[in-house]
């Protein structure tokens, strides 16, 4: 996704910065990313779910997605 190098993605951990850290992630790309996550995981992400903490790091996004999938 986003045309990031696999090597770069493989290096992602929970502290890897996303929004504001990766130049590839502008608001259109974030919107596309969240819509794709909804589609692939069959979840609905509400406006109020999207906050700085969730988008701040890869760990934040992963924790959010996992909670959504488990919580339904």
């Amino acid at each position: 996704m986003l045309g990031l190098d696999q090597a770069q993605v493989d290096g992602f951990d929970g502290d890897t910065g996303l929004f504001g850290h990766l130049p590839e992630l502008d608001s259109m790309a974030v919107a596309g990313l969240l819509t794709e996550i909804e589609d692939r995981l069959d979840i609905v992400i509400e406006d109020e779910d999207v906050d700085g903490e969730m988008l701040e790091s890869y760990g934040g996004l992963l924790a959010f997605a996992e909670a959504k999938v488990v919580g339904g």
């Binding site: 986003l2 045309g3 608001s27 259109m28 919107a31 969240l34 819509t35 406006d47």
Partner: protein
Amino acid sequence: MYATWPCPLPDGTAGEEMVLGFDRRRKKRLLVVPPLFDEANKFRHQLVEIMRRLDASGIDCFLPDLPGCNESTAPAANQSIAQWQAATTAAAAHFGATHVFGVRSGGWLVPDALPGWIYAPVKPRQVLRGMLRARSLAAREAGRSESSDDLLARGRQDGVTLAGWELGADLVRELDERDFPPGSRAKAIEQAEVSGKPLWLRAENDHDPAQADALVAILLAGLGEE
């Protein structure tokens, strides 16, 4: 390569739009319907790659501008899916298309009468949701609050500009309410059959020769069957 075509206007007259075409009066003639909005830019280079390969393989192909899209000077805010469907149907007749190839949201517009393919089909509501979210996120970055629900309600009433695209109220309602499923003669091509990373998820416009080769192989296999 570049020419114009007479595109029908809502008042019954014909306007003029641009078309990128490879026309050598061959038997197999493919109408290419590009994705709408942001993905139109993401795919433009790739579509040209695909068309060059088709041309080299003996297939005529045409990529017409739809009103309000690409180089068109028609006001974007006046367009609707219904009008774009009428435009692609008119383009198919004008170019004598024997087959159609719709990409992503372009699949909503393919004429039912033609056999063909829809690459990586997407739902209208999903596309609208992405655009609403982009505006909502951009507003938040700028310190304002605009909810997707409020933007949608406003858009359905008066039209709204989302991620730089002026959407009229008719178009917003169509995207919110309708599915525009393909006709029975269109086959879906999923990304898994093409392999590689989807171009529409990349942040910057890009192209991918290996994916173009794979897609053209699928199209040629189908075109050869008839």
